[in-house]
Symmetry: C2
């Protein structure tokens, strides 16, 4: 059975995964032919796979006949999500920070060398912020990413430092030497303040979140606030560090939550 099924099953799953990747926050609904084009599939193949995925609740059809991610897939991915435990441990602290600081409070984890944001609370009148829940940013550019990178395995650090360092603004750190020094500074100080690294008007302040109260416990997330660039962002570090300790205490009480 094994020799028969390997060549069957895996390509179908890979195609289904490419279909899921076709949908984005900007375009959560697509026509069948758009899905096919983005997934690199013939429209007949896409159409057949989409029909099967709709039947299983992985995708859904809109009243207009377009296709989107199914509620059932969201539920399956969310209810046993590797990030749900972290998110639930962090939420009361994110809410407290958000009530006090306003603007944006967010939590990110390292995934495939990037920051993946797993939670965000935003005020209606907050400063500009490019992140969103389940969005990604390069680690060298975002404050959340920099704290994650500062405690990441050495080989990832070197790969980022010696790789291409894209600039969002003139303030984005794009020099390998400056990035190396910045990471050393973050490890020494326990936080980072990024004034205008992604948008001139916004400053990110981030601290590491550990997997338990032990100060040597692994860093599992980055906690950050995005506030206006008015020179007062540094004053928020103690509030962030206190929240990060609270989250670590709750995370430490659960089993393997993340990554």
């Amino acid at each position: 059975m094994r020799s028969e099924q390997r060549p069957r099953g895996e390509p179908v799953l890979a195609r289904a995964a490419r279909i899921l990747q076709a949908f984005t926050p900007e375009e959560p609904e697509l026509s069948v032919s758009e899905v096919g084009r983005r997934a690199g599939l013939h429209v007949a193949t896409a159409s057949r796979l989409i029909a099967a995925m709709v039947g299983l609740g992985l995708l859904a059809r809109t009243p207009a006949g377009r296709v989107r991610i199914g509620v059932r897939l969201w539920e399956l991915a969310q209810r046993a999500s590797p990030t749900l435990g972290l998110r639930e441990a962090a939420m009361p602290f994110l809410e407290d920070l958000h009530a006090v600081i306003g603007h944006h409070v967010q939590l990110g984890v390292l995934d495939a060398g990037e920051v993946l944001f797993v939670e965000r609370l935003s005020a209606r009148d907050a400063v500009v912020n490019v992140t969103r829940i389940a969005g990604r940013l390069p680690v060298h550019a975002s404050s959340t990413g920099l704290v994650l990178l500062a405690w990441a395995p050495r080989e990832l650090q070197e790969r980022v430092i010696t790789g291409p360092l894209s600039a969002y603004t003139p303030a984005t750190v794009t020099s390998p030497a400056r990035l190396r020094a910045l990471l050393a500074g973050i490890r020494r100080q326990g936080h980072v303040v990024c004034d205008g690294h992604i948008h001139a008007d916004a400053t990110g302040v981030a601290v590491p979140v550990r997997s338990g109260p032990d100060p040597a416990a692994p860093v599992v997330a980055g906690l950050s606030v995005i506030v206006p660039s008015d020179g007062r962002a540094s004053s928020l570090v103690p509030a962030l560090q206190a929240a990060a300790r609270g989250i670590a205490r709750r995370v430490g009480g659960s089993s393997s939550l993340v990554q």
Copy 2:
């Protein structure tokens, strides 16, 4: 190509979907053989499919060799989630309600005849609450479910009213006649107060959330708070109704967000 692939692809996807269903909030990590047992698959088949799904990021292996939902799957399901728009529209209002009322504030949608909770904010010292994000409850038992059912299509109402009505407590509505009258009352009053329907110590208060500011716009979600059963829950109805109107206004500004 079609005649060849239909019998191949669909069973693999169906098996993959059964594998995803094996994971629950209580048991987000399973051994390969546990996954196989729950998915009704031979361990060799499960093992091979799991390996393919791990390769695609749909599943991940823990350091202990167990299996869980992959961060990549969570990201794909979440970033274009059918519930994300609703959740983002609702979040500021959920936060405001939560800051004022405390305990639990939650938002649910109707899916496959049940309430699926898409968001929840909880205080650390809140009253007991059985729901969780991406969790489900029967519509007849929960306050959120009752408001959704009150504006649901007639055939779903009849199916629920004439189907088995499980009891959580002696206060759960399990009589078809009483449920019918309760739904009529909810449509008339625009809210429901469920004192001890799921747990003797907790009262749920729920209101419908419409898809836009028009009072005849379709109901797309139920907004509820779970508070202690101290007889004061009814006083929260105006705050909930105001929040539901605010959410409807924001939902009305976006394209098809839900269901």
